[in-house]
Symmetry: C2
Subunit: 660 residues, 2 copies
Amino acid sequence: MSNPSPPRVHPLSQLSANEIRRSSVLVRALHPPEFGLDFKSITLNEPNKKLVLEFLDAEHSRRPTPPVIDRESIVSYYVKGNEQPYEALLNVTKDTVVYNRQLGPNVHGRPDELEIEAVKKLVLEDSNVNEEIRNLGIDDMSLVVCAVWIYGTDATNNYRRMFQCYLYLRDPGNPSELDSNYYAFPLPISPVVEAVGQRIIRIDRLPTGADRTLKPGEQYKPPPPNEYMPQYQTLRKDLKPLIVIQPDGASFEIGEESGSQTLKWQKWYFRINFNGREGMMLYDVRYDGRPLFYRISLSELNVSYADPRNPFHRKCAFDLGDHGAGYSANNLKLGCDCLGAIYYLSAYLSTGDGDVMLKENCICIHEQDNGIGWKHTNPRTGNAGITRNRELVLQSIITLNNYDYVFAFVFNQAGEISYEVRATGILSTQPIDKDISVPWGTFMHPGVLASHHQHFFSLRLDPMIDGIQNRVVYEEALGIPRSDFNLHGTGYYTEETAIYKSGGFDLDSSKGRVFKIQNSQVLNPVNKEPVGYKVVVPDFQKIIADPGSYNYKRTPFADHNIYVTKYKKNELYAAGRYTNQSRGGDGLRTWANRKDKVVNEDIVIWIQFAINHIPRVEDFPVMPCDTLRVCLKPVNFFDKNPALDVPPPTQERNGSCTLS
Amino acid sequence: MSNPSPPRVHPLSQLSANEIRRSSVLVRALHPPEFGLDFKSITLNEPNKKLVLEFLDAEHSRRPTPPVIDRESIVSYYVKGNEQPYEALLNVTKDTVVYNRQLGPNVHGRPDELEIEAVKKLVLEDSNVNEEIRNLGIDDMSLVVCAVWIYGTDATNNYRRMFQCYLYLRDPGNPSELDSNYYAFPLPISPVVEAVGQRIIRIDRLPTGADRTLKPGEQYKPPPPNEYMPQYQTLRKDLKPLIVIQPDGASFEIGEESGSQTLKWQKWYFRINFNGREGMMLYDVRYDGRPLFYRISLSELNVSYADPRNPFHRKCAFDLGDHGAGYSANNLKLGCDCLGAIYYLSAYLSTGDGDVMLKENCICIHEQDNGIGWKHTNPRTGNAGITRNRELVLQSIITLNNYDYVFAFVFNQAGEISYEVRATGILSTQPIDKDISVPWGTFMHPGVLASHHQHFFSLRLDPMIDGIQNRVVYEEALGIPRSDFNLHGTGYYTEETAIYKSGGFDLDSSKGRVFKIQNSQVLNPVNKEPVGYKVVVPDFQKIIADPGSYNYKRTPFADHNIYVTKYKKNELYAAGRYTNQSRGGDGLRTWANRKDKVVNEDIVIWIQFAINHIPRVEDFPVMPCDTLRVCLKPVNFFDKNPALDVPPPTQERNGSCTLS
């Protein structure tokens, strides 16, 4: 038994290119060779947490790590011609199939990149579509752009996997410009494609007035163009360069390992990963050796639109579950243009034909200065103690048809972790008649309506604050009743309430309610309070669609600021694993309804935040970033301000200069 | 009549050094020369808005400006030995007194810098105080530090002007260190000084347990020190330099005028001013020539504490009205350490003896990069349009005993103005016995309690969005009832409600309520909606002190997110002009209760935001910045994204580099 030991693979590393390929080979072997397979995703099935925790414990205490934990992949795929997808769990260490099953009715896989291209081609080459386009008065089919949307769900017969395609025109006055903003030219017809048969089953006419009236036969009159690319602007000339120089390089260190990377920066340590669905994610987040989070990732992002008219009532996209933040990631090196010293990471993802694509530069890492970190001037001596707030940023940017999102994990020196989202890109537009206004959308440009829509984000935190047994409490500030003790009615106090059963919970600014994640077994050495982190997150308007609607049923996280559940393997995605045309019933609300004990247990916290986007003219032709931040701040976790030892800034070191 | 014309003075310029000195000379002449006078403030009385608007109109249309508007100052002062202050309005162009009056009972002026020093000396040299200190077991009086606090208000006989002094110790183990953090050594006695008589009327014993019990005779046992200055830290060594270089200088232009400065940056134009009370303020804010705001300033900042026990129930400080953001401003050149190319402004303020002090470098101005401004990647071509978000920052930092605030106006290229507050510095501490915990504060360090407290900020906006007649509306997003039209329950719409009568109004996240300032007479050329700006501000816990309490009565702005009033001259400060020991009745609630018509009128919007600071151990010995931001964003004000013409970033221009 003197086989060479296998190469070291960290149990939390994403699948290697080889593991992805072996997975598709294993799956292909389950079916006759003449069957065509469409691979929807091939991704790591994370090992049992107990085994990983043992591994991490050994790793961090520099003991020999346990033997390699078997590597598993989970594969979502279709057999061509079949309405229902398959799911296979594979052991890619032993090349064995743990299970392979076809999933029940109304479960649909995500569209993959090959399928999207095939649908576009089908639509744009279809003779009926071509005829409808000509009927609109458009002769040049090469100007037509097809945006393939998920079909969504309504109460009617959509048990089949379908696509709703919205059509746009590149500027007909400038036909050679491939980067024309076609969202300024939305066409009033929308072909519907049936996925299995790869055929157009109907062409919807879009309502363009203030009611449901359709106007077939009406010609399309293109408005003036509204371009966002720089070659179409008179660029301002008075912006002088601002250059960030890091002469000694960056302050972080990346540990090179295949499949995942560790990062060390300013007492922080964590492992970076990237998969097709969640995109950038973090494992094993520690500060100064103390464990904080087992896993952090964005778990879902839903966008639901306000226009109640067919087919817009079905515009309800799961940008992670239906599309995938990893699959949609930008190549940042080509357009990120961060400042300073930048490190790029790339990742392997699966393709629609079971092969491997390299997502180049899908994460960029850099430091930034975010102003003053802390300051105090002693008014008696005039002497100031001051530090600046240096931040570490891990950024990933995704594009989903029209919209773009900038996602970032931001770490600072005061023990804080933020998750920042910048919503940008172009609104999903639809045609509207001249001089019309409707209360569910904004008239953005002649012929262009942008409907209101809600973006719901769910950030999943799997905490291990000084250990895996944690709890969530909420603190409220309440007035002390008048008495001899509170003679003047000015006193108030705080009260902590522990959450005992899994469920959904809400902010309440009238009570100053704050949620904290605590380890009640570990007390702060100074004040004997449980160590913890608090969640600082803006409140949001919960889902407006009514509780009987599919939008409500399908987004079982858009109704509460915070959910707390007991950890259960594979409960990773707030709206469930299969979101495409889902009908609800899976996901967070269902899991929370188990009413599991969640105090001093292995728990998961789901933080929701949202934008109710009521478009403004300023959001066109491309929208300035709308920024949201969730911040996790230590509360009685440290024994003093953890940024106390940050060196003070000096003019020599900063190289700043005075203007006069 | 060929007198030389007087030097040009802009009507919105602050008082010159000469005007301040002439004011005190004019006031001295009103009293017999042997009377001693204490000057509390000498500040500009702004001219009638109508006259100023005519002036601005001429100025911006490059017509000759109207003749110089008479300059007026408003002087708050005491005749020594008198309980009630005087207020004089002076014409300093003509050297005449418009009025001079002694104010009624229970009106008290602010402490000035000379008075504060006198009270410190009185307390530290007082034999009874010295004896009490010795009784605590402290021999070295030179270690004792006296923090002079306003007295506050309760129902008892405090018609006299008084000070509550809190005593601390510099580290007795390190007596030569003048920058020792004395807030780690709070003493349990608190002398009360009567201002007019300049005498100590009693020495309060502070409660140190969990109830009201006092423990006279108990010795003070100093805890270990807890220092924040860098010389007491083992500084981290792994932070590499990050340098901002602006090789061509900054992109803004300052117009040099005595008394105020104009600033032009990226289509923005405004006038910067600085006074003793509000500190940094802006007048005549315009974008691309279009008027937006006549005046913007922080109008008040109150901090009210939770401990109901004597004397802490009176800890309720008006940091602007009692102290003044201008008088408390830091010299930034000595410790600001902004990055890049920095411009500093200085200002003249009055002193306690009617003379002039130069507040050097009380405002710093610089540009910063705040990440991606907008981005879209065309998934069909892979080409990205992108800009970075360059910001202009005007920063002022104030120190009030223990606390420090970083205030900043932040402008960007998308037509947005933000007001940012970073709360930092040291908590106001009080003594606490060993192993005690109380629900109205946090045990921070042995012997050190930090009580909970609420910070309430009120930002005053005097808008002139495309003209002086404006209105405030609130927009809500509401579900469309189920019907044939909203068949699937997914639809929603927005509704705007105009505010007709002055009053206080609240956010309501359940309706997605957003407040907008509009000019209903000017319609957006694209969609014919009124041009406007929306207010993006975080919700907060309203004042917890009960409505019968003085804390509640004295802070008539801490109960609503937004107030809208009709403009009235001299209604500038949310809690009224005289806040020291005020008893309520003046200020925002009173003005709003006039129920003036505020639609299509000259109106004022007051935006409240707050921190309920429940201290964490991490906030000691100095607290990491807690940041709040109010943002004003255009809504249908422009005809497209105003940042569209920002040049795209390029690697050559940014000088960024790739790590590997």
